[in-house]
Symmetry: C2
Subunit: 232 residues, 2 copies
């Protein structure tokens, strides 16, 4: 029987809405905000994967700015130094999803430890959490920067284990990114996939232990002891 | 001064058109062929990156079929076992781009060795090349399967070096995939980016040594000795 003692969250897209940058994109590039925001996010992820695969790590902020430059170049949009700075700064002021603050309180009130394990640098994670007033909602903020790899590299998932000093089976890993949930599952954590958009889980050989609509839904129906007992 | 002695090509998208599967996609799913072909290719690449990052290698054929299943699931399209088999079989019968056969002849007539270095399995590469009648146009067909990693992992690029028994500076690596050209450049090859679609090169910290419109253009204007002399 497993009893979950800690919940470790992905940040970008799971607790915080990466597409909240769309508003400033739209203001700077009218009618193109959505296209920019989507391509920027896709390239940002690809650049983290590429750099990790090539053994050419640079931190997440670098991926963010390089992906923005490529996006604007691909879409034929001029990007001024001031525009670049203000757009990248938006990634430090992402909005949490509406269900998140109360859900975190509820989990903590139930005696669970809470943490973030993110591709972001320590500085970025701290800024995002501070700017949204949620600093007191987490026991640990963990950055991939400590191992200079990006998700879904196994060394990243190991970081949460080392920080929390628990067994894998004690930790529920929560992500809206199907590939991130897959990486955590292969590493050995029980996994909850947050499926906000009604998507289809990736076909990479494993399935999530739980699927929840959002983090509020996870907190409201948190598995009691034994509910994950078929998880190794 | 460098004198290029061998040209090593990426297969999918560089010599062969991955979107030649669009025709069968369209026949099986009228009006959806283009959407399927694009999402399938994107997911196929992502699945190779994910499996390499997670240390969960399965061969390229597995990525192809898993990506197809995810694509059909995401688009709400039923996929029968027969449909799946016939669609995946199309990846063994890709059409070479029109400029490719003559360009290969021209390079070989100039005394250059030619090879393919591909994510595909040995079986896939051989089948694609045989089915297009180009077997005699290559000295070597090299598969990532030998190292059980995918591009852009450095071990993959090392394979061409080991096979050709040349120095890095003797080998021109050619890819239409910007991220693949980037990986080869970081590894240390002189690199030619084939930019068939008028795209923008990725912002990952390096630039290609040559940019050509297609492989025919590369062969017609092949750099003479010294033309790449600023390449380390």
């Amino acid at each position: 029987m497993n009893t979950i003692k800690a919940v470790v969250f992905d940040l970008y897209g799971t607790l915080y809405d990466v597409h909240s940058v769309r508003t400033l994109c739209e203001r700077l590039y009218p009618a193109r905000g959505d296209a920019i925001s989507r391509m920027w996010r896709q390239k940002q992820l690809e650049y983290t994967w590429m750099r990790c695969l090539m053994g050419q790590y640079k931190d997440f902020e670098s991926a963010t700015v390089e992906a923005l430059r490529h996006t604007c170049g691909s879409l034929g949009l001029a990007l001024s130094p001031a525009g670049e700075a203000s757009l990248c700064n938006e990634y430090l002021r992402l909005a949490p999803f509406a269900d998140v603050p109360q859900a975190l309180q509820r989990l903590r009130a139930a005696g669970l430890k809470t943490a973030i394990l993110s591709n972001g640098s320590r500085h970025s994670i701290r800024q995002v959490v501070e700017n949204s007033g949620l600093t007191s909602s987490f026991d640990h903020l963990i950055s991939v920067d400590e191992v200079r790899q990006f998700k879904p590299h196994p060394e990243v998932y190991q970081l949460a284990l080392d920080t929390l000093n628990l067994d894998k089976a004690d930790i529920l890993f929560v992500s809206c990114n199907s590939w991130d949930a897959t990486g955590a599952k292969y590493f050995g954590y029980p996994v909850c996939w947050i499926n906000r958009s009604g998507g289809v889980f990736d076909e990479l050989g494993v399935s999530p232990d739980l699927v929840r609509r959002d983090v509020g839904d996870l907190a409201a129906r948190f598995p009691v002891a034994g509910a994950l007992e078929n998880v190794s």
